[in-house]
C-alpha cells in the first residue's frame, strides 16, 4: 500500500487545473479530491484499512453547463457527489464553489451556502416524506432559508410547481398519490424552490420508465435554460448522459480516467476502459454489428485496489509500467484529460521506466531475502 502512494505524483494529477477556481466562469472546481472510508477492526476499533471510494479526482464545471459522470456501480460516482455537497467529510483535496473552498466554511457560512447547492436523489419513492403534503415538502426549505417573505411563500411555491409541470391542486396531496415520474418532478421542484446555482442529479431517471425518462430529461433541460442552472449528472446510462451533458467524466474504481467534452469523448475515446464501456452500449438496431470489447472479470475491491494503474488487471493494452506506476491525469489534447500510460510524453516515460526498474530491483531483493 505504502509503496503505491509514493508513486502518485500529485502535481501531475491536478495538472491543468491550476488556478481554475479563479476563473469566474467555472462554477465548481474539484482538485485532487480523496475520500477514504476507514475499515475498523472488530476489537479496539482500530483502523485496519481504507475503502478508497474516491482516490484523486479533479474536474471543473462551467456555469450553465452539465457534466455527466459515468462508471460502473461501486466506482465512487455517488461518493464524489456527496463529498462535493459536504454531506461527507473529505480526506484530502479541495472543492471550490464560486471561488470559495467549501470545506473551509464554518457552520453558519455553510448554511448560507446550502440553498445554492441542491440535490435530486435517485429513488423518488424513498426521498419524499410520506407524511407531508407536496405543498409543505416544497415550502419547507423556502421557509427555512427565507428565500421569499413569509406571506409570499404560497404563491412562490405555486409558481415553482407550474415550472415543473405540477398543478396547484397537487399541493394538498401526499406523495403516495403520485406516479414515479410525478414524484421525480416534485423532487426537482423541491430542489429548484431554493433558487440554486448548482444541482447534483444522482441517477434521477434510472428508476423511471423509458417514456417517463424522456419527460424528466426534457424538464431538466428546459429548467436549465430558464434558470441558468449547472448540473452534475451522475448516471450509469451512457445514452442519457450523452444526450444531456456538455462534458463527461468517466470513473473507474475511484479515479477519473477520462474527462472532456461529450462530443470528444464519444467520438474518440482515449482510455481503454472508456473504449470498452462504450462498445458495450446496446444499440436499438438489429442489424448493428457490435464490435464489442468484452472486459474480463469484474471490478476489483476498492479496499485493496491493484497497484499501479487500477485498470491494468482488465486492460487489453496493459504494459509493464502499468503494473507499477499510477498514470498521470494529463491533458492529452486541449481540454481532453486522460489517465493512461499510452499517452505519456517521452520524458515522462523515461522517468517511469526508472521507477519500474527500481521497484523491480526491490522486489528481486525481497525475494532473495526470503530465500
Amino acid at each position: 500500500m505504502a509503496k503505491n502512494e509514493n508513486i502518485v505524483h500529485d502535481e501531475y494529477v491536478a495538472h491543468g487545473f491550476k488556478d481554475a477556481e479563479k476563473n469566474p466562469e467555472n462554477l465548481l472546481v474539484v482538485k485532487n479530491l480523496y475520500k477514504y472510508f476507514p475499515i475498523k477492526s472488530q476489537f479496539f476499533k482500530r483502523t485496519i484499512g481504507n475503502v478508497k471510494a474516491v482516490d484523486g479526482v479533479s474536474f471543473k464545471i462551467k456555469r450553465g453547463t452539465t457534466m455527466g459522470l459515468v462508471g460502473e456501480s461501486g466506482c465512487g460516482k455517488s461518493t464524489v457527489g456527496r463529498t462535493i455537497l459536504r454531506l461527507e467529510q473529505k480526506t484530502k483535496g479541495e472543492v471550490f464553489f464560486n471561488g470559495t473552498e467549501i470545506f473551509s466554511l464554518s457552520k453558519s457560512e455553510l448554511r448560507k451556502m446550502r440553498p445554492k447547492i441542491q440535490i435530486i436523489f435517485q429513488d423518488p419513492y424513498s426521498s419524499l416524506s410520506p407524511r407531508l403534503p407536496i405543498g409543505e415538502i416544497i415550502a419547507e426549505g423556502v421557509k427555512e432559508h427565507k428565500i421569499v417573505p413569509a406571506d409570499e411563500v404560497d404563491d412562490y411555491v405555486t409558481r415553482i410547481m407550474h415550472a415543473c409541470g405540477l398543478q396547484e391542486y397537487h399541493k394538498d396531496r401526499y406523495p403516495h398519490e403520485f406516479s414515479g415520474g410525478q414524484r421525480q418532478r416534485i423532487c426537482i421542484a423541491r430542489a429548484l424552490a431554493l433558487n440554486p446555482d448548482f444541482i447534483l442529479c444522482d441517477e434521477p431517471v434510472s428508476a423511471l420508465d423509458v417514456s417517463i425518462q424522456a419527460q424528466v430529461i426534457n424538464l431538466l433541460r428546459d429548467l436549465q435554460k430558464q434558470f441558468n442552472l449547472t448540473y452534475l449528472f451522475i448516471s450509469h446510462d451512457l445514452s442519457v448522459v450523452e444526450h444531456i451533458s456538455d462534458t463527461v467524466g468517466v470513473m473507474y474504481l475511484g479515479n477519473l480516467v477520462e474527462y472532456s467534452d461529450t462530443d470528444k469523448v464519444f467520438a474518440k475515446p482515449l482510455h481503454p476502459y472508456t473504449k470498452a464501456l462504450f462498445s458495450a452500449i446496446p444499440v436499438p438496431d438489429p442489424d448493428y454489428k457490435m464490435d464489442r470489447i468484452i472486459l474480463e472479470g469484474s471490478i476489483p475491491s476498492p479496499s485493496n485496489p491493484p497497484s499501479g494503474c487500477k485498470f491494468h488487471t482488465r486492460c487489453k493494452e496493459c504494459m509493464e509500467v502499468c503494473k507499477y506506476c499510477q498514470p498521470d491525469f494529463m491533458e492529452v489534447e486541449p481540454d481532453h484529460f486522460c489517465a493512461c500510460h499510452l499517452y505519456n510524453s517521452a520524458e515522462r516515460n523515461a522517468e517511469f521506466a526508472a521507477i519500474v526498474k527500481e521497484e523491480k530491483a526491490k522486489e528481486a531483493a525481497q525475494k532473495a531475502e526470503e530465500k
Partner: protein
Amino acid sequence: MSASKKKKDANYISGKESRAISKFNRKLTKRLEKDRADANKDPALYTTRMRDPNNVVEFDNVCTYFFTDIGTVKAVDGVSFDIPKCSTVGVVGESGCGKSVTSLSLMQLLQRPQGQTAGGEIRFNIGNGEALNIVNTPTAKMQEIRGNHISMIFQEPMTSLNPVFRIGAQIDEVIKLHNPDMSKDDVKKRTLEMIELVGIADGESIYKRYPHELSGGMRQRIMIAIALACSPGLIIADEPTTALDVTIQAQILDLLRDLKDKINSSIMLITHDLGVVASMADYVVVMYAGRVVEKGTAEDIFHHPCHPYTIGLMRSKPVVGKKVDSLYNIPGSVPNPVDMPNYCYFRDRCEMRDECKGMCDGKYPPEIKINDTHVVSCYRFFETGEVLGYPKPVDVEELYHGKK
C-alpha cells in the same frame, strides 16, 4: 379544485359496493382454485395439440385477471403470440403493461387466489405432438414442468437467491428435485459442470460460498446456472440485466446467447430496454396496457415500426451517436387498469389519431396482418392489411354464473 374533486369521485367505492365485490371475488376464485387443486383430473382436460409443432409455446387469447377489492384488474387481456423453437422472443413495454404477468401465467406463479388466468389457452409443447394447456393443468402436474421444461431467470439476483444457503446447495436442489435417482456425487458433478458452463472458473470454491460473497454479475450467472440445470426447452428471462452495469450486461447477454444454442432452447426475454432486445431477439412483441399492440421479427419492429406507441417508444429513448435537441415524450399516461375504455387504449395519447378516420372511437382495433410476420393492432392499416380478429376478453359475470 374542481378537477381534483371530480377525479376523486370516479375512484370512490362505497363500503357496500366493496363488500359486494369481495363476496363476488371470493366465490369465483374459490371455484377456480378448487378446479386447479384437483390432482386426479382427467388428463384429457388439459392435453391438447399444438397449432404448429415447431413452436415451444403458443399463447392464444390469454386473459389473466386480478380480482381485487376495487374491481377486476385486467392485467393481461387477450394476448396471443408464439415462441418458435430455438429462438428468442423479446417482450417490450412499460412497467405495468402486463409483460411480467404474461410470463407468470405461463409458469402458473401468479399471486393466488386473486390472480387467475380466466380464459384462453397457453399450449406448451412437451414433444411427441402432445401439448399441455397450462391454464387447466393441475398444480401437481405443473411442478414437474417448472424448472424442468420451463425455467425462469429473475430480475434481482440478490433477492432471488436464498442468503442462508450455500451456492452449491441451491443448484443441487434443482437437479435433485427433477432427477430423484441421481446419486449425491453425480448431482455435485453436474452442479460443478453448470458453474463452469456459465463462465465461472474455480467452481469448487464457489460451490461452498454464500450469495453475499459474490458480485452482482456473478450472482446473475448463478441464477442462470440454476435455470439451465435441467436443460429446459424454454427460459424466461425477466429483465435479466436491468440491475447490472453495461459491461456486465454485455457479458451476461453474450453468455445467454451462447448457452441458448448449446442446449437448444428458446428464450422469452422480458425487458424495457430496446437496445437489449435489438441485440438479442429474433421476434419482438410490444405490449401496452395488457394487450399486444404490435408483433413481428426484430427487423419489422425496429426498421418499420407501425403502431404509434412503438414509434413513440423508439423516439423517446436517447441513442448514442444520434444527437437530438429534445427527446420525444408520449403525452398523457396509461389508462386506469380497473376501468379500461371500450375504444383503442392508446387513443387518448395517440398523435396519429386523424389517420384512423374516427374508427378508433369505436371498438378496440383488431389484429391486422401487414406482411407474413408483422401484425399490428391499429386502425391505420384497417383497409390495407388483412384483419385477423378482435381480442376476446372474458366476461367476468358470465364466468361467475358459469357453465357449472
